[in-house]
């Protein structure tokens, strides 16, 4: 584009002054256009790159627990170091955690190997909880992660998604909730 402008300019120069003055403003505006296109493209690509990297989720999102396909609402919690699952009637025997999901979400009985123990602290308590590995679908991502197990019957959400999951893929916007329904290829549409 620039090159054609220049050659245009040169030709008009050779043809004399009058001609040159008539063409020159147009080639100038073409030059400006070119600059504008470049700036706009630059801004657009910068914005897009930022948004494309991380997925924005709300303060509460539905997830699908795999492979059992149990749908649970999850509190997205940037204050929690690790994620945590509501485990009712929890028993740990021979390094296996046996528990039920809350009745409200089907009450499924699960049995998972304990991969560790974690000390959990908050403003008013301190306790050790067993850690298991689970898989769930959050938005378009299938996430394989560790969660601590405890009885969460006094609180509202059966799953807390903490910083261990959010760190790599997500940005949280509390203005929204349920803005990203589970859409992993492994989960059939509902």
């Amino acid at each position: 584009m620039l090159q054609t402008n220049l050659s245009f300019h040169r030709i008009t120069k050779m043809k004399g002054r009058q001609r040159r003055f008539r063409i020159h403003p147009i080639s100038q505006s073409v030059g400006f256009m070119f600059l504008f296109v470049i700036t706009v493209l630059f801004f657009l690509s910068a914005g897009k790159g930022d948004a494309g990297e991380k997925i924005t989720i709300g303060e509460v999102e539905d997830v699908v627990l795999m492979p059992w396909r149990v749908k649970l609402p999850a509190r997205i919690d940037t204050g929690a170091t690790t994620s945590s699952l509501d485990a009712r009637d929890l028993k740990v025997k021979n390094n296996m955690a046996e528990f039920k999901l809350p009745k409200k979400y089907g009450g499924l009985q699960l049995r998972l190997p304990v991969v560790g123990w974690l000390e959990v602290r908050s403003a008013d308590f301190k306790e050790k909880r067993p850690v298991v590995e689970i898989m769930f679908c959050l938005g378009p991502k299938l996430i394989h992660t560790q969660v601590t197990l405890n009885d969460r019957s006094t609180v509202r959400y059966p799953l807390i998604i903490g910083r261990n999951v959010l760190k790599d893929n997500f940005v949280v916007d509390c203005m929204h909730s349920h803005c990203l329904p589970p859409s992993c290829p492994e989960v059939p549409p509902q």
Binding site: P25, I26, S29, V30, F32, M33, F36, V37, T39, V40, F43, L44, G47, D50, K54, T56, E59, R75, I76, D77, T78, G79, A80, R121, S122, A123, D124, F125, K126, N150, R152, T154, V155, R156, I160, G162, R163, L166, K167, D168, V171, V172, D173, C174, M175
Partner: protein, 159 residues
């Protein structure tokens, strides 16, 4: 010339719109420094989408005639504060219920001065003296926990 102007104007407006959009919400990390106003006390705050309300570490809390009197933790200067209680809040946590006094605070985070309600409780067991919850975050912020201390307080008129 006139024909050229139209796409140029269109593109200019697109550009302006694009940048305005990007400025809408400030991204905070998992922990950010804030300044309590008017005392100028700088505190690290946990940015917590799991907390419905913000909460401040109040030591030696005494309630008298609708006023809350308390000290900030020694670590952060131990300033004695006295603020009117605007309401009482039920707090739900995994092990039960609790009532806490709520006061209004002004603080500077990033380039914003914000007045917000915080409840008072002894937080000596936990790491951060201030929790900023969803009541604070909802309007102006998004949270990216990969970051930390990336929006230092720099409000105009604050040294």
């Amino acid at each position: 010339m006139d024909v050229m102007f139209i796409p140029m104007l269109a593109m200019l407006s697109l550009l302006v719109l694009g940048t305005a959009n990007a400025e809408e919400k400030i991204t905070l990390g998992a922990v950010e420094d804030v300044i309590l106003l008017p005392w100028g006390v700088r505190l690290p705050a946990r940015i917590d989408t799991g907390a419905a309300k913000s909460s401040l570490d109040a030591r030696e809390l005494v309630i008298q005639d609708g006023m809350a009197e308390f000290k900030l933790p020694q670590e952060f200067g131990g300033v004695q504060l006295r603020l009117p209680i605007i309401e009482w809040k039920h707090i739900r946590s995994p092990d039960g219920r609790q009532q806490r006094p709520v006061v209004e605070l002004e603080l500077c985070i990033g380039s914003k001065r914000i007045r917000s309600k915080v409840n008072l409780t002894d937080r000596s067991m936990v790491k951060y003296p201030l929790i900023l919850g969803r009541n604070f975050l909802r309007k102006n912020f998004v949270v990216d926990v990969k970051r930390r201390m990336t929006a230092p307080p720099r409000c105009p008129d604050i040294p």
